[in-house]
Symmetry: C2
Subunit: 353 residues, 2 copies
């Protein structure tokens, strides 16, 4: 098996291991990073069906004590309600400070299990096994953990680095296409903000052929995020670039009440709305918007979702990225080149009109 390894040097140093089918022997990798005797696997019902037993068996076959909590899949589970059920589960199973949580699943699982790991007993170890493309390229890297509130996404959270991330690219085969498409939104974002080379690979492939270069693509995305996170772990500057398309994207998700629209789709629309706008204003090089639209189309990310921008603005101004009366927006001046700009609420409203 050919494995790729990326080391992240954040406040805690940890490895991300990328390879096909490594989930079957996951404990072989886990044991290099974690010395616990007892593991709490947290996953959703979709993922549990495919990989719950695989992970539990690998741990049990190595003599480890394992308990498992399965919650219903979907963003609705990323709530304080699920969080409390995780806390109680950890408590009932006598999980101590030297034990370890395994977050097995997509972004929702990684975020909520990671937040539980950050806060239960003021912090215990956790390992991420992301099973969606989105989670592999995005939410499993960088140590941001979160739950949603009724008032918005990710409004409660913590910075908590995992001890290890295992990216099994083989599991992406079992993903329904919509989930794969969802992840491609973030993949294209990485090309837009930081890598013309990655963007070129993406525009030269499509939803089918991309699979032949997927390991390389995932590695590139994770490397970009790693570099950014190492420079700005606590999200005070450079890291904001990762939010390209996200302020508007989040407000689109909110507009649709987080249903019927994927995160990737919302981010894709967010990237389009802001780039059309900045190209009109000559901040972005002519032609970038068109290249973005064509590339998104190759990955089924160009569907028409166009809530009126004026209705998105109030939610944008309520985004957690705002600071006092200001909001930071991310702008691509060219493919692979981006920067952030601080605007007052009035400037932002004017800017978007």
């Amino acid at each position: 098996m050919v494995l790729k390894k990326i080391t992240v040097k954040a406040s805690d140093e940890y490895d991300i291991i990328i390879g096909k089918d490594l989930i079957h022997d996951c404990y072989e990798y886990i044991k290099t990073a974690v010395k616990s005797d007892c593991f709490a696997v947290i996953t959703d019902d979709n993922v549990d069906e495919f990989y719950g037993n695989t992970v539990v068996s690998s741990l049990k076959n190595n003599g480890k004590t394992v308990c498992k909590l399965v919650f219903p899949h979907g963003e609705a589970s990323k709530s304080t309600l699920t969080l409390n059920s995780i806390y109680e589960f950890l408590c009932e199973n006598n999980i101590t400070r030297t034990d370890c949580i395994i977050a097995l699943g997509g972004g929702v699982t990684g975020d909520i299990a990671g937040f539980a790991a950050a806060t239960y007993l003021r912090g215990i170890d956790y390992v991420q096994i992301p099973t969606s493309l989105l989670a592999q390229v995005d939410s499993s890297v960088g140590g941001k953990t979160a739950v949603d509130l009724p008032g918005g996404k990710n409004l409660v959270g913590a910075f908590k680095q995992p001890k290890l991330v295992l990216c099994d690219t083989g599991v992406l085969k079992t993903l329904p296409r919509d989930y794969f498409v969802d992840g491609m939104g973030e993949v294209i974002k990485y090309g837009m903000i930081k890598s013309a080379e990655l963007f070129e690979i993406l525009e030269n492939h499509d939803i089918e052929s991309i699979h032949s270069v997927l390991d390389e693509v995932i590695l590139k995305c994770i490397s970009i995020k790693r570099d950014i996170v190492e420079e700005d772990e606590f999200d005070k500057g450079e890291r904001m670039l990762l939010n390209f398309g996200h302020t508007i994207g989040h407000s689109i998700e909110k507009y649709y009440n987080f249903s019927g629209i994927s995160h990737g789709m919302a981010v894709a629309s967010g990237m389009k709305i802001i780039t059309r706008n900045t190209e009109d204003k000559n901040i972005t090089k002519k032609g970038v918007y068109n290249k973005l639209v064509l590339c998104l189309a190759k990955y089924y990310l160009n569907e028409i979702i166009n809530p009126p921008v004026s209705e998105l603005i109030p939610a944008c101004l309520n985004d957690k990225k705002r600071e006092g009366g200001f909001i930071n927006i991310i702008i691509c001046e060219d493919i692979g080149k981006s920067f952030y700009k601080k605007l007052s609420f009035d400037e932002f409203t004017g800017f978007m009109n």
Copy 2:
């Protein structure tokens, strides 16, 4: 006004200001540490009645935007339920990353408002205004924040340093005597673990006369805690000494379902149980137990609460300080001298019998 100031150099550096009646002009001190325009005051109904308006007025008179959340007093409020109501309150009031939480109240308020500050938007600034003796000498120093779970106290939490702590010793006059007694449990603990000099002051006073030297006593307690926290912010060694009497104390509180018994009383009993035991085993110098009992009696902390030790052991083994199959216990060998010892569950059970 004579003010005392202690600077804590933890992962974030901050000041603790001690003085009589400084709450009335609290913004004068807050403005040196925090630049926010908007403040969320979090307090309980008891404290609100005495000081809610005082704090809000000081902020408003200086042109600040202020919102206030009042929850019912008592340990029962240190729950995920109250926490969620705080999150929703912050959200509804559009509190952003550059705004600031004011935790106004005793230990419960400081712990839960501090945890909200640690996790809302992945962390915003907060200021502690502790209004009980216990909170002034203990929970406002050191950056530990927490909420309780049905399974036990402080099982969810985070390390989060405040930007400033304001200890108004004048407010202790409005404390009901039971609350004052409660705090004296921790004050005596500081003498036991680190300072024969402090212990001597305590045994030479009583519940009435101690008020004449209270500023000095509070300063000494905070200094001890500050020194320990600076050495071991994340609770891996030296800081464990602060748990003297607490593992058994917590299990006593649990045994009584956290009602009818104060934290100070439980810790006092915990200190007595462990010290009687270690003195019997010649680990503690002869006579220390007796001095402890006499000193506790002067502060109404020697009431007979003696749940059978055997019934406390299971809860002790479930304490969050346990590590795998081991538990750390804190032992005083002499007044002002303490150390910690790691015992297996079996050793601990044997030790306590």
